[in-house]
Symmetry: C2
Subunit: 301 residues, 2 copies
């Protein structure tokens, strides 16, 4: 039985008769292939990457498992369409807090057309991509069973300032999604520690300093964890995954300096939250976030 993914925070959604990804009950995620070169590039990437013996296990674990492609009734009722079959990344999770962060100050490859470059450059300039080297594409934070998820509007989150980005990265690991000042209560067990998100980002960084096979444009890092597990005294299972490979190009012997630069910038933001959670940089900005348009969603538990 195929259904709309419950915890998708960015990208096209399959609800309301639109075309989007579906999931099944066995942990698989079916993403409709974009008809143009983007679909072809995404399949080419997964095919190449999943058989690339140079990628070590501690890195390939950051990517969704790939199960080939499959013809499937599309979610918009337009008939049978090719889908790429992937691991459903939130399958084993109950009420995950999820953040989708598009990495790189540049979301376009030098190989793209002048028109495409101008289109992406405009978006990069209007978002935090250009100043920060990354932008938030979407997020949900689990509050309580009663309040459900805090999920800001995508159009808003993609246009926020540096200080608002910093604040949302703190809010993501705070105990109360409606508090005016984030307490960063879960920072040390989600971002910190030997198995925390910072540690995983640093492993990824070391690989990007070396690998020259792939250049990832407009690719996202998902950060996920489960607040309820932490409240039960268990590990919140913090985890990063890379997604969206419709703009992966051959590296041709050069490192992906665009992705690496953005990744280092994100690492610096996360590090600062761990070392100075009470930094005054976000004071006075909390209100801005609360004035923004948000809507609650119910938790699935």
């Amino acid at each position: 039985m195929l259904k709309v993914p419950a915890h998708q925070v960015a990208g096209h959604r399959a609800d309301g008769g639109k075309l989007g990804p579906l999931v099944d009950d066995s942990g698989r995620f079916y993403k409709p292939l974009q008809g143009d070169e983007r679909g072809a590039r995404e399949v080419a990437f997964y095919t190449s990457f999943s058989s690339d013996t140079k990628v070590p296990d501690h890195i390939s674990r950051f990517f969704p498992k790939f199960y080939g492609t499959q013809l499937l009734e599309a979610s918009d009722g337009s008939g049978m369409k090719p889908h790429v079959v992937l691991q459903d990344l939130t399958f084993s999770r109950v009420n995950p807090s999820v953040m989708d962060i598009k990495i790189g100050s540049r979301t376009w490859s030098p190989e793209e057309s002048a028109e495409q470059i101008q289109k992406c450059l405009k978006k990069d300039r209007e978002s935090s991509s250009l100043p920060l080297g990354f932008r938030l594409s979407g997020m949900q934070i689990f509050g309580t069973k009663e309040s459900g998820f805090w999920k800001p509007e995508k159009t808003w989150i993609q246009s926020i300032s540096t200080n608002e980005v910093r604040l949302l990265l703190k809010k993501f690991v705070s105990s109360d999604t409606s508090a005016l000042k984030p307490d960063c209560a879960f920072a040390s067990i989600v971002y910190g520690g030997s198995k925390g998100i910072l540690s995983q980002l640093l492993e990824l960084k070391a690989w990007f300093e070396d690998q020259t096979s792939y250049h990832f444009f407009a690719c996202s890092i998902l950060m996920m964890f489960e607040k309820e597990l932490a409240l039960d005294g268990k590990s919140p299972c913090p985890e990063i995954k890379l997604v969206d490979f419709a703009h992966v190009f051959e590296g041709r012997g050069v490192i992906d300096h665009n992705f690496l630069g953005g990744l280092c910038s994100l690492i610096k933001f996360i590090s600062e939250i761990l070392t100075t959670p009470e930094d005054s940089a976000t004071n006075g900005l909390v209100e801005d976030v609360h004035r923004s348009h948000v809507y609650p969603e119910n938790g699935s538990a």
Copy 2:
């Protein structure tokens, strides 16, 4: 007695009645201030940086010493003009091999005008800046007292391919500037070792992973050494210096991911020369470089 610098490999030159920097006999370098905001920004940077107590000594040594500004008869005979007074970086050197590498896939700040952005973006696309994260701006390699310096034309060097960049980074540390295949004879003592260029670049990288005060656009790293000292069995005094700060902007709490990405890319190229100097990637390309327009200059010894 002011004169035209002997070992300038990039930027405006003061010879032929043009406006450019001058040097004196005491080790000072006089750079005419650009009349627009670029001149103001460069002075603002040097003023701020030279009194910035957060910059550790092992990093400030990579920057020219700053001695303020001074009104001086300009090299083009246009009268008294303000100059920024700096350390002459090649003052104590005899026949230095020098390479000027402009760092960053983007030579423009997000704060610049749309017109300026398009102008710089065009140059970045036409050079190796966009694919590699850096471009060679100029270079000279000392050959022998008889042959003098090998100094490729600036217009050519700024438009070369990835493999030609790799080849020139090898040729820079090879014994014979006219050999078809670079032997990388000096790679281990110039690029390698605890005081070599790679080690210095890694120190700079560690600082860029942390510092959030300055964003350096269109800034260059100079790499210098002296082949003759190596031939005498002495250290060739490998050294890096950062120059050109007309496009330095405030970092505002964010790392300079554009400079850092390009720096990591350069580091990867240099590392590969040290680990695999005989890499086949440059085979068959040597001829391209030798077909290019070069002109010899005499050594000063």
